[in-house]
Amino acid sequence: MPMIDIDWLKEHVEVPADLTYEQLAKDLVRVGLEEEEIHASQVTGPIVVGYVVDCTPEPQKNGKTINWCHVDVGDEYNETDENGDKVPRGIVCGAPNMAAGEKVVVTLPGAVLPGDFKIEPRKTYGHISNGMCASERELGLGNDHNGIILLNHYDLSKEEAEALKPGDDAMHLLHLDQPVLEINITPDRGYTLSYRGVAREYHHSTGAAYTDPVVALNAKAPKPVVEGDNGGDVAVEIDDGNPIHGVPGCDRYYARIVRGFNPDAPTPGWMRRRLIRAGMRSISLAVDITNYVMLDLGQPMHAYDLDKIEGPIVVRRANAGEHLTTLDGKDHELSPEDLLITDSPNGVRASRILGLAGVMGGLYGEVTAETRNVFVEAAHFDQVTIARSARRHKTPSEASKRFERGVDDQLQPAAAQMAADLLASCGGGTPSDTPVDVDRTQARTRIDFRLTETKRLTGLDTSDERIRQILEDIGCAVSEGAEPGRILVLPPSWRPDLNDPCDLVEEVARLVGYDEIPVTMPPAPVESSIGLTPNQLRQRQVADELAEYGLVETLSYPFVGSADFKAFGYDEDDIEPVSVEVANPLAGDRPYLRRTILPTLAQTVQRNIRRGIEDVSLYELGHVYLWDPNAPAIPALPGGVKPTDDQLEALDAGLPEQPLHVAAILTGKAVETGWLGERRAVDWTDAVEAMRRVADRLGAKVQLDQPRSRDVPAQWHPGRAAKVMVGDVFVGMVGELHPHVNEALGFPEHSAAFELDLTALFSTLNGKPVQAKPISTFPPVKQDLAFSVPKTISAEQLKQAIVEAAGDDLESIELFDVYTGDQMESDEKSLAYAVVFRSPDRTLQAADTEALRAAIVEKAAPLGAQLRA
């Protein structure tokens, strides 16, 4: 994101002399340019001006010649001799351009240069060197390391250079003490990727006087040769055979030639400094100038070696199979969506590719150290075309960054003029008077704007006059509308983001200031107010209940892969086709979304166990995702239009089901009694109890349906797992995890779990109030009934038989003993129930109780159950 240098900003807007970077950041954030960071200077002093008093070359054994010099750095920094007199410092300098009489930049002991390079006195070549004379590169000012900076030849006027005295602060002189402000640009504000744009925003924030540099440049630019006319600098054709979304890839191409350019001319120091402070490298004068103009005005430019180019220049789309090697040396296979700049060698039109338009130039045609005649391109390319190409070829550039966000389509002549001026002034070139301008830009539509719109959307009470003034200040042309209270607003060419009334409202509001918007409260929507829905409340109840029961709630990422499938005993061929698959997963080994929570919850349990935590019992509420391999495809539909009912249905029909689940895994010790008594290991009973707590809290009538061992899914212990049912509705599983699963996950033996489909479970609840039964005050009859039953009969089956037989006279039934052992046949067990009989309407007599027992025994008999003595 762009770096803002106050020294450069001043070119376009008046800033206070004492403006700090902190204040600048505050001023800009107010209008929406956010501070990313104020980059502090990486250099600390003392760094001062030095006068080279003498310079003695001393050839060394290694073939080098060093200079032993004495440099006057002013009284404050000079050395003191044995007589107490100030004398110049002795400094060893290896630079070939070191000479007596020069003014140089001396970094003194204590100074720190970029790269944390600390300057200290050091013994070298038989001398104590008490400081260092610095090159541009050492100071972070450029790439030049051929010699040290000689201030008499460095970018200062003669008077300025002469006025420099030994000991003067060189930090400030060379802007070394300056921080730089990096700002963030939102994607709609492409024009602020330029000093021209930022200066305008600074003006909006502070009212400082702003001068648009483009006005003067336009006045200076010669009348171009337009499309269809002859005699321009170079023939240019735009020939787009494959526009994206019907928008031509290039709607303006402006070319200007500068002849007689001196390729040896250096980039002036001020320009290098500004480029480097903007985070760019200095490459060569011609390239530096195109970059400088881009940073200043926001127009990406390209400079070609005119002598290598054969017209006409053709802007066209790539053909399938074409390749281009870009400036960075990378080869790209081109797509028919890529827009190219081509020329026509040997009369073969558009046959040679010069570059990927608006993204990056190719190796052929670029300016080199021999280029004398420069061809400058300033074009306007379509945002989408450039964005796609930059992304496709993974070559985002400063140019593509700007074109993607939208470049001013009326800026090209001014930008070319500025480049031509600089090529002339710095490089001795002569700009042509016959630039070519192929201009197919469309006139903007005027926005019909109600002056009341600002108040309607923001609540700001802004006068009509102020609204007009703000719109004009941002560059709009405002004219009267069809009726009073309406105006027609033509947005400026650098604001492609302004197209609708609401866009103008934002401009007015941000320039008035969002802080000025009065704070109000919306009305309370009484009519539609329904509170939390029953299912939202139930979700909270489930979460609270399990925490109260002693489990810890966690959240896991829903991503799973083959390792999880294997650990849980799933067959990958079965589960993958019914799992949602992410096309671009972060972790390649977990590309699927979970169908149940347990595998991802297990990862969390594992993490805890690996961290040495014992007795981990966790639960999670979350969604699972059920892929339907036969689901219909989802249509692509445009935004801004309400789809038809059929289309809306098609959108949802293709989505996978995503029910809400809750799952828990219990490991280690179940009862944390500590000093109070013995601990007990977790087993299936804990999972069943936790699951039942959830059901009871919700008022759900769940039963366990225990499948035969061979029918138990592979995740579960074949003899210790059951389906959780509400009537005929399957809502989940509970039990011990299969020993293989526990082993694979590193869980203790008998670790148990449950998982409930809450969406299914909630749907079994009708939400109606509990209907209370009358409470009988007749006396109870308490009896214990112990049955011997075959082991294949479940406690639940026998209980149901007793409940049915006893009918209304049964008040409660509780299993109090389960026994297998010496007194029982090996295939039988004893189940003992404490039952309480109580009639709703009379006192039960002995005969009644006898009849109840008889009925129960009879009902239990078909199960093979016999009442024990």
Binding site: T458, P525, S528, D544, L555, I634, V641, G674
Partner: protein, 355 residues
């Protein structure tokens, strides 16, 4: 019994005085009962004296009866008093012997804990419910239309690129090597609920959508690919950005205390215009109170309303979204996102049932 028939007032009075004195000295129930047997039992002087009254003359009988009544009462009173004293002492001694160390940890069935993130989301929900809004939920695997197109993200918007968004493979792509668009994504924002809400519930609409969202950021100290947002949307006649500021201030105070407030900075989002960054004045900011970035907001873009078939000339709306993880990190001084997502029980247990 011979010789027992004589009533000796002096003797019985002395015996009773002696008995009362012994009672006063007694310290156990056993001793007390022995004294009672000795001085008021069947063979005691007092009983013998009572028996002897029968042999006295009428007048003497009356005097002796009165004396005996007084002596019995004195003895009984002294006994009763001492008895309750001794009983109390006995009980105190017994209970004292039952003393336990009440500071021993008793935690037979320890409570577990909620994760602070869903708890925070419940708090946020409750705020909106208290204002009469509804809580809406949408699918996490979402169509591109609801996640992007309907929200004014064009097909070429940078957010729709693979480097930010998790795309879902479609059925037709299962056998192909490359990715073929399914028009499905893991939703990148709970804003995807906006147009669902508008279409399903109509206007006026006041909804908050807390939920889970996905972006292709690697997990580090400040990022997580799976995170949570709360989106709020109000669409009605006459809603303004002022109303947005009012609700944001209320949310700030609910989450961060009475000194918290919100500030808007101009920004850009495809689905709002005007748009703003939401800053929070955070009284407990490290290094002193200050503004910190909290979320994004603005007035609903007319194109979003049009996607739901709502006339933007009649209705206006505002929307905002805040990150739940960020809110939690700030509120609880959590320095590392890993703590929030790893599910370490030591983290959750700090919060027990609340946050």
């Amino acid at each position: 019994m011979a010789g027992s028939s004589t009533f000796d007032a002096e003797k019985v009075t002395d015996a009773v005085i002696e008995g009362i004195a012994k009672i006063k000295d007694a310290s156990t129930m056993e001793g007390l009962k022995a004294i009672k047997a000795q001085y008021a039992g069947a063979d005691s002087v007092m009983t013998q004296a009572s028996r002897a009254i029968g042999g006295l003359g009428k007048d003497e009988k009356k005097t002796a009866g009165q004396l005996m009544g007084k002596l019995r009462a004195d003895f009984g009173r002294a006994y009763g008093l001492k008895e309750s004293e001794v009983k109390a002492e006995d009980e105190a001694r017994k209970l004292g012997s039952e003393t336990v160390d009440m500071t021993l940890p008793v935690n037979r069935k320890p409570i577990g804990s909620r994760h602070p993130l869903p708890k925070l989301m419940e708090d946020v929900e409750d705020l909106f419910i208290s204002m009469g809004w509804q809580i809406s939920e949408g699918p996490e695997v979402e169509t591109e239309w609801y996640d992007f197109d309907a929200l004014n993200f064009g097909p070429d918007h940078p957010a729709r690129q693979m480097q930010d968004t998790f795309y879902v493979k479609g059925n037709q792509a299962r056998d192909a090597a490359g990715f073929v668009g399914s028009n499905m994504v893991l939703r990148t924002q709970t804003s995807s609920d906006q147009v669902r809400g508008l279409i399903a519930r109509g206007v006026p609409l006041y909804i908050a959508s807390p939920g889970r969202v996905f972006r292709t950021d690697e997990l580090d100290a400040t990022h997580t690919p799976v995170f949570h947002q709360c989106e709020a949307l109000a669409v009605d006649k006459n809603l303004t950005m002022g109303d947005l500021k009012g609700v944001l201030d209320k949310l700030a105070v609910t989450m961060f205390g009475p000194e918290a407030k919100s500030r808007l900075r101009p920004s850009y989002f495809p689905f709002t215009e005007p748009s703003a960054e939401l800053d929070l004045w955070f009284p407990d900011k490290k290094g002193g109170p200050g503004w910190i970035e909290w979320g994004g907001c603005g007035m609903v873009n007319p194109n979003v309303l049009r996607s739901a078939g709502i006339d933007p000339d009649v209705y206006t709306g505002f929307a905002f979204g805040v990150g739940m993880e960020r809110t939690l990190l700030l509120r609880h001084d959590i320095n590392d996102m890993h703590d929030l997502v790893e599910g370490d029980v030591r983290f959750s247990k700090q919060f027990v049932m609340g946050e």
